[in-house]
Amino acid sequence: MMMRVYVSRDAGAVAVGADDVALALEQVASKRGIAIETIRTGSRGLYWLEPMVEIASRRGASRSAQLAPVTSHRWSTLLPLKALIRFDLVFPKTFPG
């Protein structure tokens, strides 16, 4: 089943690296042969949590996992969720850049 990943394209999210996160997700997924569909959603209004990645479960977006804010630092604290989505993410370590 194609995994659905939601990343906001709101200016507030983009300003804190949402584009970089979306790109990194797609690159890592394709490197690992995992089919994902990245959906750039509108604003969530949750600016303090951006960049946020939402992963739809098999039961749909209503039962999903949210990772936020996604930074290389935070990622290491979310190891259990790593198993859920089955791939390692390498986030851009410099931002902006």
Binding site: A11, G12, V16, F95, P96
Partner: protein
């Protein structure tokens, strides 16, 4: 954004003005077109626009000065606009502005001698939730701190 602009030329200016003079709300459309072509709005074009649209010089000049995105002279190759409004000030924007000024060797509002960077204040990008924020060549950046300002300046100077 790094555009390649043409040098100011009266005939070319007149052509651009004529091209847009029939559209509704032509003043802004023409000012935008002039700035896109020349990189700024040459002051010699103001009376030409006024003449073409049957407006007074003051009316056209008033529109030109009201919108701060219209330039009197060409900007540097890169434009960094740092938000200097209240929320960003409260989040440490003053310190970041001073730091960027020192690193670039210019004051807010100036362009470096090599024409590489224009550093400008801007008053609210609507990114108060991720203050302090800035816009670099049309790209928004938020949650700025000293490390990120340093990285931006280093990128610009490279």
């Amino acid at each position: 954004m790094t555009w390649v602009h043409e040098p100011w030329d009266t005939a070319r200016g007149a052509e651009i003005i004529a091209e847009h003079s029939q559209v509704e709300g032509a003043t802004l459309v023409i000012l935008h077109a002039l700035q896109e072509a020349f990189g700024y709005v040459p002051q010699a074009a103001i009376p030409m626009v006024a003449w073409a649209l049957n407006l007074s010089h003051a009316e056209v000049y008033g529109v030109f000065t009201f919108y701060h995105d219209f330039r009197k002279k060409r900007a540097g190759r890169h434009v960094l606009k740092l938000c200097r409004a209240e929320a960003c000030q409260a989040a440490g924007g003053d310190r970041l502005a001073a730091r960027a000024e020192a690193k670039l060797g210019i004051a807010l509002g100036d362009t470096t001698a090599d024409d590489r960077v224009t550093f400008e204040p801007i008053y609210c990008l609507g990114l108060c939730a991720t203050a302090p924020s800035a816009i670099l060549d049309g790209r928004v950046v938020g949650r700025l701190d000293e490390a990120r300002i340093d990285a931006i300046v280093a990128e610009l100077q490279r």
